[in-house]
Structures are given as C-alpha cells and as structure tokens.
C-alpha cells in the first residue's frame, strides 16, 4: 500500500511527511523529521522517554501511529527552549543535577512542562504521581522532583 501523506504542525511549524501505517509517531519524529530528542526506551508505553504533547495532551509517541497525527499539533522536547534561552525546567534540571545519562531527560522535561501548565504549584505528591510514567534508572528521582518544584517556583514568579 502507498505511504500515507501526513500534514501536521510540529513545534509550531507546518510539516509534511510520508509514513507507513506501522510507523509510530516516535519513528517519524526521529527517523523522518530528524527530531531525535525524543528517545525510545521501552517502545511499550512504560518508560515515558518518548513523551510528547499531542493537541495539548501528554502521550507516549511510541503508542501513536504517525498517520494518526494528520492535521494535529505535536510538541516535542525540541520546542522547549526558545532559541538559546532554556526553559526554566531545563535550567533547573542543570542546577539540581537532575540527570546523569540523560536518556530519560527529554521525557521528564516534556511531562514536567505539561504538569506545570495545569498545576503551577504542585505538591511533591502530585509531581511524583504525574511523573510516575517516566522512568529514570540513574538519579533516583529526588533531584528530578526538586528541580520540578524549583522550576515551578521560578515560573510562578514569572
């Protein structure tokens, strides 16, 4: 069967691409659009390393077909920083050393941003539950949780 021709908006830019039915959104982002910030960890929706926003909703891009995003809006880790200016979450992850190997980091940042957009002042409990779908095998989570709390405080100050 012919490939699907898909038009979508990725990080604010109109994009078009061709994909096979079985290609996931993660495959398309990484292999076709060369947006390799989203990572493949488990490819089964357990680890959250491929987290992206789809029409404003946090999802695992490994669990979305590329052809499903036709006409939809996708935001990835590449859209987080504005030019050279890091997003407060990125800055706080650096300051708190909330990463080691870094594979899980893009997913945590995208998921963290989604949390702070709806919950500007989350409790530790809320942060831990919201981020329960993002696995990190290096840091032990405490620094990540601290970084998200600190970024929330910074963002509340505007």
């Amino acid at each position: 069967m012919a490939k699907h021709h898909v038009e979508a908006v990725v990080n604010g830019d109109a994009v078009e691409f061709l994909c096979e039915t079985e290609e996931t959104l993660l495959d398309v982002l990484r292999d076709t659009l060369q947006l390799t910030g989203s990572k493949e960890g488990c490819a089964s929706g357990d680890c959250g390393a491929c987290s992206v926003m789809l029409d404003g909703r946090l999802v695992c891009s490994c669990l979305v077909l590329g052809c499903e995003v036709s006409g939809r809006r996708v935001e990835t880790i590449e859209g987080l920083a504005k030019g050279e200016k890091l997003h407060p979450l990125q800055q706080k992850f650096l300051e708190h050393a909330a990463l080691q190997c870094g594979i899980c980091t893009p997913g945590f940042l995208v998921a963290g941003k989604a949390l702070l957009e709806r919950t500007p002042d989350p409790s530790e409990h809320e942060i831990r539950f919201w981020l329960a779908g993002n696995l990190c095998r290096c840091t032990g989570y405490d620094k990540i949780v601290s970084a998200v709390k600190d970024a929330a405080a910074t963002m509340r100050k505007g």
Binding site: M1, S44, G45, G48, R57, L58, C60, L63, E68, N134
Partner: protein, 286 residues
C-alpha cells in the same frame, strides 16, 4: 497494513464488514500498538474510530450518562460532573497506566482488548453499564458483562464495534467504588479488581447493589450472589461476612507468577468488602 480513519459509524462498520483479513479497531492504541510491536497481532486493516464524533463525546441521556468508546481516561477525569455521580467508574479508568497512557487509553479499548484483568470493566459491570454496539445489522445494546467471553474473546460479530457506554440514571443515595491489588503501588496489571455499586434508602439500608470482579476468572464476572448478600442490610459485620463468602465462592482464578489461586481468592473477598464499604460511605454523603 491499511489504515483508515472514517468519520462515521457506518463508514467504520462498512470497512470492517468488507475486510477479508485480520482487522483491528484503533481507539487509544495503548494495547494495540504494543501488541503490533511484539508481533502478537499483524492486522491487514486498522480502523481508527477517533474521528467519529459519537465515540468521543460524553453526554447526558435520559438521566444517565453516555460515554463514547474512544473517550480517554484523562478526559473522564477532567469531566466536571461524572466523578461525583460515578466515582468508582472514574477511579477504575484512571488506574490504567501512567499520565501518558491516560492521555490515550479508552473505556472501549480496555473492554475490547479482552483482558480479564482490565481495570475499568469490573467498575462498568458494577455500574450496570450497557455497551452500545453498531454492526452491519444495525445497533444493539449488550450489558458490559456479556461483551467479553474469555481472554481476547468478545461477543462482537463481524463488522461490529463498541460505539459507547450508557451509565444508567442514578437514584439518590447511590455510589460506587473500585479497588484493585497490584504488587507495586502504581501502574501494574490487576491481580484482583473489585467494583461495587449500591443504593441506600433513607434509613441507610442497601436497596440495590451490583458487584463486578476482575482477574479471578477467564472473564470479568458479575457476581449476583455477592450483591444479594448485602441487599437489605446496612453492611453490618454479618453482611460483610456474607459478601466476602459470596465473592470468594465466585472466584475461579488461574495460578500464575502474579498470584496463586488461594491468594487471588482471599484478596477478592477483602477487596470486595472494602470497595463496598467505600461505596457505602460515598452513598451516605452523596
């Protein structure tokens, strides 16, 4: 592998009816894509039902609530009124996976994936929910407990899809609850799941009840004997004991690494009692 995303029920039914090879309906995809990746399924045709407005809507209908088969867990949680009327159904749906999975996972998918351990199904059965199906011969309603026949086996005919669920009107002093046991604190597959829905009279006596039990048999069970054990009572200790005994008697679980027959049976009794107590407490204050 062909992918179609029709914008009408008739279109989806026509595609599925005409297909000759293996077909799969795509709602949230949180099970289907994993199974495709693992080569458990290799469909010739995927029919994405999310462009059909009816599958994506939550609407009031004759005093009850109709929930589209492709409404996500996150959308259920954010609905301003559903949670106060059907807290058990919503908490069950919200137990499926992570925040990311909640952004995609649906009630229709959870049922049609055909797992006896599906979290939302015991709660839907306890709620007395009807599944509205559409197929080549038209529409029909099936009680949710009659949709699943066994692991991966559904009562759906060729070309038939689940369009939506109807939660019945709620009398005053009614509520529900769902509890499950998993070996860790979050994001795992139920070893046992128990849903209880009940209605009280003005004096606090249970006048109606339904009990759904998951992961203790080849399909999710409606346990009428457990409901009978507490109807007419105020869920005092003897009623709780009768409830536990009835739940235990209904269990026909498998023995596997996730839980032995004895363990699943014991936990089913405990969770059923606890879910009933939560539902009772909620019904008193509803």
């Amino acid at each position: 592998m062909r992918y179609e995303a029709p914008d009408s029920i008739e279109g989806a039914v026509a595609l599925l009816s005409a297909a000759t090879g293996e077909t799969r309906v795509l709602a949230g995809g949180t099970d289907l894509l994993v199974q495709m990746r693992a080569d458990v399924v290799d469909p010739d045709l995927i029919v994405d039902i999310k462009k059909i407005a009816e599958t994506r809507a939550i609407t009031e209908e004759k005093g009850g609530w109709r929930i589209g088969a492709a409404v996500t867990g996150a959308e259920l949680k954010e609905h301003p009124r559903l949670k106060s009327v059907w807290p058990g159904v919503i908490e069950a749906a919200n137990l499926i996976g992570s925040t990311q999975v909640q952004g995609r996972a649906t009630l229709g998918g959870n049922l049609c994936n055909g797992s006896p351990a599906a979290d939302s199904v015991p709660a839907l059965i306890a709620a007395g929910a009807l599944a509205t199906l559409a197929g080549p011969q038209g529409r029909r309603d099936l009680p949710v407990e009659d949709v699943m026949l066994g692991p991966r086996k559904l009562a759906l005919r060729k070309g038939e899809i689940v369009v939506s669920f109807l939660l019945p009107p709620r009398p005053p002093r009614s509520s529900d609850a769902y509890l499950r046991f998993i070996p860790r604190t979050e994001m795992d597959i139920a070893v046992v799941g128990a849903g209880v829905s009940l209605t009280l009279d003005g004096a606090g006596t249970i006048t109606a009840a339904r009990v759904g039990l998951g992961a203790v048999a080849a399909r999710v069970l409606l346990v009428a004997e457990a409901a009978q054990a507490i109807i007419g009572s105020r869920l005092d200790l003897p009623a709780q004991q009768r409830l536990e005994a009835a739940a235990r008697a209904a269990c026909r679980p498998i023995d596997d690494k996730r839980g032995t027959i004895e363990f699943r049976t014991d936990v089913a009794a405990v969770l059923t009692r606890r879910a009933a107590l939560i539902a009772l407490d909620r019904a008193r204050t509803s």
